[in-house]
Subunit: 108 residues, 2 copies
DNA sequence: TACATTTGCAACCATCGAGTTGCATATTAA
DNA sequence: TTAATATGCAACTCGATGGTTGCAAATGTA
């Protein structure tokens, strides 16, 4: 089944995994060493992250290096963007922000 | 129990609720009209959002207007920020981004 | 070839999460 | 006062989720 990216980052272990992989591509075994859980539990998290394309595998012999796919994070950033304007420059731009939000909504 | 903000925005209905309330403070009944679910289901979502302070209530007679608290979204934005640099200006700044991520991690 | 390593998958289990219905409480209106 | 409205809370159901253990397949090594 297709996974939602917001659900993927809802789990703290998965967020930590993304932090790790963003620094350097890593094998499941290497990842598991950073957590108290079993390797299989980490493997299941990897599956979720891969399903929504937040990471991608690179086979190398019997090892698999998982790489971070930053592009997919845009979806979260895009959702966050209109809200972000509500706490930045709030006094000068609040009105236009609300107008933009309404416009976006009315597009249907 | 204390709710995690990432878990709060994991649910699509709650994300839609935040979009609504960001435009205008609203009562639970008014929110429920925008969805197919029952009023009580919406009420439970409100509870979750309120627990992590993404919204705050304002009593007015027997009605309760819920207001959006944009400040709390910073937590998501802050988590996203270092990754964001991985897809923006990637060729010019990739190295420094990785260094920053490593520094942040080593702070412990 | 025989054995160890790396990984994924399946089965099972306990808990969580989102939905429902029913009910109690508080406020407004008739 | 009586009735209607707005809201929250409790109990229940059911599917999703995160963890475990066990096993099979593929690759590398002795």
């Amino acid at each position: 089944m297709k996974k939602d990216i917001f659900q993927a980052i809802a789990d703290p272990t998965r967020r930590a995994l993304l932090g790790l992989i963003a620094l350097q591509a890593m094998t499941p075994n290497a990842m598991a060493e950073h957590f108290d859980t079993s390797r299989q539990a980490v493997s299941k998290h990897i599956r979720v992250l891969q399903e929504c394309e937040l990471i991608r595998p690179e086979q190398s012999g019997r090892e698999i290096y998982y790489h971070f796919n930053a592009e997919r994070m845009k979806e979260v950033a895009d959702w966050l963007a209109p809200f972000q304007q509500l706490w930045e420059d709030r006094f000068s731009r609040l009105d236009t922000v609300l107008i933009n939000l309404k416009k976006k909504k009315n597009v249907k």
